[in-house]
Symmetry: C2
């Protein structure tokens, strides 16, 4: 009961803070005595802080206001992608405290090498967070492929298959993609739990929590691979097995070039970062943007072609998923001015007659950071909904841990 109520109070503080204890009692239906005790625990745990006083209109007595504290509890967001590793630290208020990206060609390394490299980045991030007084409550690792049963099933652009990414990182295997999984995996080597989830799903959640996504949208992660995450009514749509949103393997031309996924003519073969650079005769995405700014014909044609293919795939996606808007992220964010016109025109041609509104294309403000931010944000969401599990794991709170409270008393 206490476990559940701590989550209820903390969620209400996030929703309506700065807020008084009296207002929290009104909003949650708990007694003022209970709220005061729970708030005391949350303050002691560094999750809530007193921010000032507010005169209560009806009763006339001033009350101390409370808000989430960014001072102690934090989360680590991690990403392995084909050509970089990245990490960020986000505190309980979703303020980004650290952001770090290292370009690496992970496709030329084994999973063990890459995860050992990522381990060094984690150590560095944890040390920096600790120096700022933060305690890492958990991590989520974004990987560029479908995650099933805790395994990265297939990341064709990395050349990885059935890799137990969580296990290699020194934690118990996790089940990031299972929507029904109620608890994070047990902490092992790092002292905090690490969950593994698909990069495109986490990028969509990053866009929802940190970016411009609101309510209903499809977030497209343009990297060497292309993924997408659909958010409907503020919730991620995962499909039956957590594998929805593989936009990169939507068929654009069925007889087109072979794709690393085993198919042919997939969107990635026309609009993935490698395909785009190849068409532009370049090997550096920054150089591509410079050429586009200079009006280079070959670069412009490469983007036009990629935009057209993206428009064909998004036509199919709109017909099937009916997203509200479409947010282009990853490398599509800096390329937006040169790629979105052809994509939007293709979609308008093919969709306008069948629906009142063709989904608008918007640019992500987060670009390539969306997945790492979403990964950290997912941990914060979990901690706020269930602070006791976190506190018990961190050894920070007296009283029985959640797992040992009598089952059946919470309805």
């Amino acid at each position: 009961m206490r476990a559940r109520n701590l989550g209820v109070v903390l969620t209400e503080v996030r929703r309506s803070g700065p807020v008084t204890r009296a207002a929290l009692a009104d909003a949650t239906g708990l007694t003022k005595t209970t709220v005061s005790k729970l708030v005391g625990d949350l303050i002691a745990a560094g999750m809530v802080t007193e921010t000032g006083t507010l005169r209560d209109g009806e009763r006339g007595r001033p009350g101390t206001t409370l808000a989430l504290s960014g001072g102690r509890v934090a989360a680590l967001g991690l990403e392995i992608n084909v050509d970089y590793l990245s990490a960020c630290v986000v505190d309980l208020t979703l303020a980004v405290r650290l952001r770090y990206t290292q370009p690496v060609d992970n496709s030329s390394h084994t999973p063990v090498e890459t995860l050992s490299h990522l381990g060094k980045i984690i150590h560095r991030a944890v040390d920096e967070a600790r120096a700022a007084g933060l305690v890492i409550g958990g991590a989520t690792l974004a990987v560029p492929g479908p995650v099933e049963g805790g395994l990265l099933h297939s990341a064709p652009n990395l050349g990885w298959r059935d890799v137990d990414v969580g296990g290699l990182l020194g934690t118990a295997p996790s089940t990031g993609a299972a929507p029904e999984a109620p608890r994070p995996p047990a902490a092992a080597g790092w002292g905090f739990p690490v969950e593994v989830d698909n990069e495109a799903n986490l990028a969509a959640l990053g866009e929802l929590w940190f970016g411009s996504g609101r309510g209903d949208f499809l977030h497209v992660s343009g990297e060497i691979g292309i993924g997408a995450g659909l958010v409907i009514g503020g919730a991620l749509f995962r499909g039956a097995r957590g594998l929805a949103g593989e936009l990169g393997h939507v068929v654009v031309f069925p007889g087109g070039p072979a794709c690393r996924c085993g198919g042919r003519g997939c969107l990635e073969q026309y609009a993935g970062q490698e395909a785009l650079l190849r068409a532009a005769g370049l090997d550096d995405p920054d150089e591509l943007v410079r050429r586009l700014r200079d009006g280079d014909g070959r670069a412009l044609r490469a983007c036009e072609r990629a935009g057209h293919a993206l428009g064909v795939a998004l036509t199919s996606a709109t017909n099937l998923l009916d997203p509200g808007t479409i947010v282009l992220g990853g490398v599509f964010a800096p390329l937006f001015p040169w790629i979105s016109g052809a994509a939007a025109a293709t979609m308008a041609d093919r969709l306008a007659a069948m629906r009142r509104a063709v989904p608008e294309l918007a640019v992500s403000r987060l670009g390539g950071d969306a997945a790492t931010l979403g990964a950290a944000g997912k941990v914060i969401q979990r901690i706020i909904a269930d602070p006791v599990s976190h506190l018990a794991a961190a050894g920070a709170v007296p009283g029985p841990p959640a797992g040992r409270s009598p089952a059946g008393t919470v309805r």
Copy 2:
């Protein structure tokens, strides 16, 4: 409160019937006195019936068992498709009491003509239902195109655009596609409410309630147009505006033949009923099945080609939606033996490397009846969840109708 509790009790009777009043009280948390009174109202309304006696194991006293009654309350399912009109009557137990399909080329008639024709079918169905002692509690009309704001926005294969189907049928405009719509539209000409919804959505619900669909599946409605409905966790996925599942306009070959939707190379142009018959050199679907049974080469090649296109579109759909299984319905049901092989092979080629399991193709046992059954089933679901609205509309119950009960007392 009473309104809500009637729905709770009726839902529990459906879930666990035959069931005693005592067991209903245990399952719902209501007192036995309350349950007895509510059950009395439901029996008086013809929704529940006593079926026998059951000795209660613990107390040793026999109790009368209750179950849903199929004897009075029923729903009307209706469908306008390109080449037929159909209707069915389903009672509260989901038993099908009447099924009626009339081949008509609706694309050569105006909406007013078609709806007047459908009106005659409704009269006949209502009369037959009445003769069997049934009272129609509501109807849902399935239409072959996206429904937005109560209007059939576009049914390209009918040549209809922005048609107020519900209004033309003599009822208030309805909002079948809005998932948040809490109440059915007010009854007008027919004495019961008529809701309008998309054919493919209703066919998926028909498969869920009457067919072989369980839990997670994509139901494909193969007609002259092709639509699909995705059911995840037993609930229909509708997308942001209720327009999800337009499988027929997923792009198979971007430069392919022009489609009536305004696009090019849509799945319908390869696997829709007209395209299939044209490729086989025929104009009757039954004749196509006869030719296939006889091993006719042209008919077999037409199905092979359609199956391949279907496999390409279902590859894109699987990548985006991650359905559990895929149920082929409508004309694809009788054609399943000749179409599913090529579709499954195409999907296996393109999907097997990226996921543990490629969705299995299954045949619908309902075929072309799925949408009409789903349409009637939707009304029954609504009546069971909210029997008071139905009883108030039918004038069958004393006491204030739900809408006038004091707001705020129900939490």
